[in-house]
Symmetry: C2
Subunit: 275 residues, 2 copies
């Protein structure tokens, strides 16, 4: 499994990926799932991938030489000359389809799904930042202000904190902290997601980034965050009052039955004759 | 979808279920997923169900008349006379198999999985409390001190807080609070889980319970918990320091690269000739 998340904010973008892959539980390896394409001053693009590793590695390889015909008769479009992130995402979708043409039938015969999902985001000079989620059919969707983040892989454990924190106005460092908390919850609950992590933070309109780092068990910030979040979560939990029941005479909020709710079905004995 | 959770503690047991069912996104209804079987002073049992509603309703119906042959030649074993929760769980498994015999083939022809999962726990006079998870094949597993809770349905969003809080020593009211927080996270992230909730709290060796309540939007405790947990979580998140980067001169923990990590693959331009 895998967990990758990317966020698009007014201030920039944040990308985070784990590095565990597994084929069954007894074959666990470490593969980096993030790759950055950068031509400083012209374009910054970051690709995160989940799913079948042979597919995503092939896509990454092909992506570098993939090209689309320009409808206006110009140079073929590649990720290096695409005039928009939308066109770059189309090139990526096309690379996925090439891998499908090559491997799809054989995978199907072997009973293996053509399973690949990717997050692809960044900025090309001349337009704003854009963030896409690309599916295994090569089609894609784009993040908007209402849904400013995408997750792929094991996304559920880490979603509540993103839902609570992330908005377009969120500052970059706060978003970096948030995706790391999201990853921390996922690491805690799912063995198939593992360290080290790759984190890339991109500031809007810089068209390059040096805030790219690999985070392992020894990373002082992640260690602090893991410990503090766990402790404080527990403190907050302890601070919330325990429930008290209807017949308790207290001023605290009660667990009380609302008159409109029909009572739970409680069967007090077998009323029907046994066969 | 559904979310149900049950916890076995030294002090007793806690059961919680939502009540949303859906067949597709455009057919959403409310069905209670908890049922209590109680013979005060003799046995208390609580059943939570997820999966295909027609299957779980049939199982509940059949369970009341289901019986197993006693290998010692005594009375047939039912949930009302079983001498142990293990035997009662066997009766439940047998009820599931009866529904499979009746509906399995027809469901398969219609392309519908025989999908049912249940949590079944309680206490029969003469032995301790026991908690089981029953699968659609009628087989089951039992909770132990190392894994004192089971979840069925949409379990992932609400698992991190259970992992952090629940242990056999957890007091009953704290566990009730914890499953409600777990449900709150699930409600926030998944539309297919919805109010009202059914909560049952059972104190060890009481062999009955009146702490059973239906919780809806107007429940004062759940309203307080929902609001406080969201607010405090946000406060805790804000209290954690933001990450700072290598070149910052500060005393706070840094996001810093460990020397043993190979740098991320950053492709600065297409080095290969386009085809």
């Amino acid at each position: 499994m895998t967990y990758c998340v990317a966020v698009k904010l007014n201030a920039g973008m944040v990308f985070l990926s784990d590095s565990r892959t597994n084929a069954g539980l007894d074959q666990i390896s470490t593969f980096r799932k993030m790759i950055v394409y950068e031509k400083p001053g012209d374009r910054f693009m970051c690709l995160l991938s989940a799913g079948n590793l042979s597919i995503s590695q092939s896509v990454r390889e092909i992506l570098q030489v993939e090209q689309l015909t320009d409808p206006d008769g110009g140079e073929p479009i590649t990720i290096w000359n695409a005039k928009s992130m939308f066109d770059a995402a189309r090139v990526l979708g096309s690379a996925v389809r090439h891998v499908y043409e090559r491997d799809g039938d054989a995978l199907q015969r072997a009973g293996v799904d053509f399973n690949a999902s990717m997050i692809f985001g960044g900025q090309v000079r001349g337009e704003g930042m854009r963030l896409f989620q690309v599916y295994s059919a090569g089609n894609f969707i784009e993040a908007t202000a209402e849904t400013p983040f995408f997750q792929i892989g094991e996304s559920k454990y880490g979603k509540p904190v993103l839902d609570r924190v992330i908005a377009p106005e969120t500052p970059l460092d706060e978003a970096a902290k948030c995706v790391l908390v999201s990853m921390d919850s996922t690491l805690k609950s799912n063995l198939s997601v593992g360290l080290p992590l790759d984190l890339a933070v991109y500031e809007a309109n810089m068209l390059q980034s040096d805030k790219i780092t690999c985070i392992d068990n020894d990373n002082p910030y992640f260690k602090m965050l893991h410990k503090t979040w766990g402790q404080k979560l527990r403190e907050v939990f302890d601070e919330i009052e325990q429930p008290t029941w209807d017949d308790a005479h207290t001023d605290v909020p009660l667990l009380t039955e609302h008159p409109r709710n029909p009572p739970l079905k409680k069967i007090t004995n077998s009323s029907e004759k046994l066969i």
